[in-house]
């Protein structure tokens, strides 16, 4: 068993367990904290996959900016804990778990049935090259220049939209 495989087991266990804990905590602040743990472990998985740039952006944007925004709103609204996540209204909960289980079973069946591992021959040198800031920057500014500009415009529009929505009076 190599060091890489041990790291993969470590990070994927943290990711899976923290996701399950996140949806079963009654207190929304605890949910947010476990989601942050989940984001960090996924950043670790990205590093194992040689995606350095995406890994750092995951920590800065997701675990940093977005989750701080969520925690800020949670503290601001002072949301109450949900007492009856694991009890009460059982029909809806069983239905939800059955639906999610069906989706998971379908995807897992497809993954093992189509066995993508045979079609893809991993080339370590190519994947290290693909994950660097240089390579992604080159792609962003040549092949994906128009989507990149559109993303900037989207961020501007959402900033203005959030300001307008959070204003008290529309005039």
């Amino acid at each position: 068993m190599s060091f890489e495989f041990i790291l993969f087991i470590f990070f994927s266990l943290i990711a899976a367990v923290s996701a399950v804990i996140m949806i079963t905590r009654p207190n929304p602040v605890m949910s947010a904290i476990f989601l942050i743990i989940n984001f960090f472990s996924i950043a670790g998985l990205y590093l194992i996959l040689h995606a350095q740039f995406i890994s750092i952006v995951q920590i800065i944007v997701y675990a940093g900016a977005i989750m701080v925004l969520f925690l800020f709103v949670l503290m601001l609204l002072n949301a109450k804990s949900e007492k009856d996540i694991l009890s009460g209204k059982n029909k809806i909960k069983i239905f939800a778990v059955v639906i999610a289980g069906l989706v998971f079973a379908q995807i897992a069946y497809l993954i093992f049935f189509s066995s993508p591992g045979k079609a893809l021959s991993p080339d370590v040198a190519a994947s290290i090259k693909a994950g660097t800031v240089e390579q992604i920057g080159k792609e962003l500014y040549t092949n994906y220049l128009l989507p990149f500009e559109a993303a900037g415009f989207l961020l501007l529009a959402s900033t203005i939209g959030a300001l307008v929505l959070a204003k008290k009076h529309f005039d």
């Binding site: 495989f5 929304p28 995606a51 995951q58 949670l74 996540i85 999610a100 989706v103 991993p122 994950g131």
Partner: protein, 102 residues
């Protein structure tokens, strides 16, 4: 990375997506429902990065970059909407926010 089969990453991604679906369906707090959507976006990102890395092609990681941009924009606007609803109805419980229900 020759040692870890690609299926392991994809199954982890599918599992996190299923957990996100469960969370969206069972939680009552609108903000937590939003966080479950972020979890599902992240599981899709994990699958994209996995394929990008195993193919040695940077396009998947560029896609993940755009997904993160859209997620940031979406959470800013969504949380502003939740604050506006809270200001009017003094609750974020999605069972009590039902003005569009008929």
């Amino acid at each position: 990375m020759n040692i870890i089969p690609i299926e392991y990453y994809l199954v982890l991604s599918a599992f996190m997506f299923a957990v996100g679906i469960t969370g969206v369906l069972i939680r009552k707090n609108a903000i937590v429902v939003f966080m479950c959507i972020e979890l599902m976006l992240n599981s899709a990102n994990l699958a994209l990065v996995t394929f990008s890395s195993y193919l040695g092609n940077a396009a998947g990681q560029v896609f993940v970059f755009f997904v993160m941009t859209v997620a940031a924009a979406e959470s800013a606007v969504g949380l502003a909407i939740i604050i506006a609803i809270f200001r009017n109805k003094l609750t974020v419980n999605i069972d009590e926010i039902n003005i569009f229900k008929w």
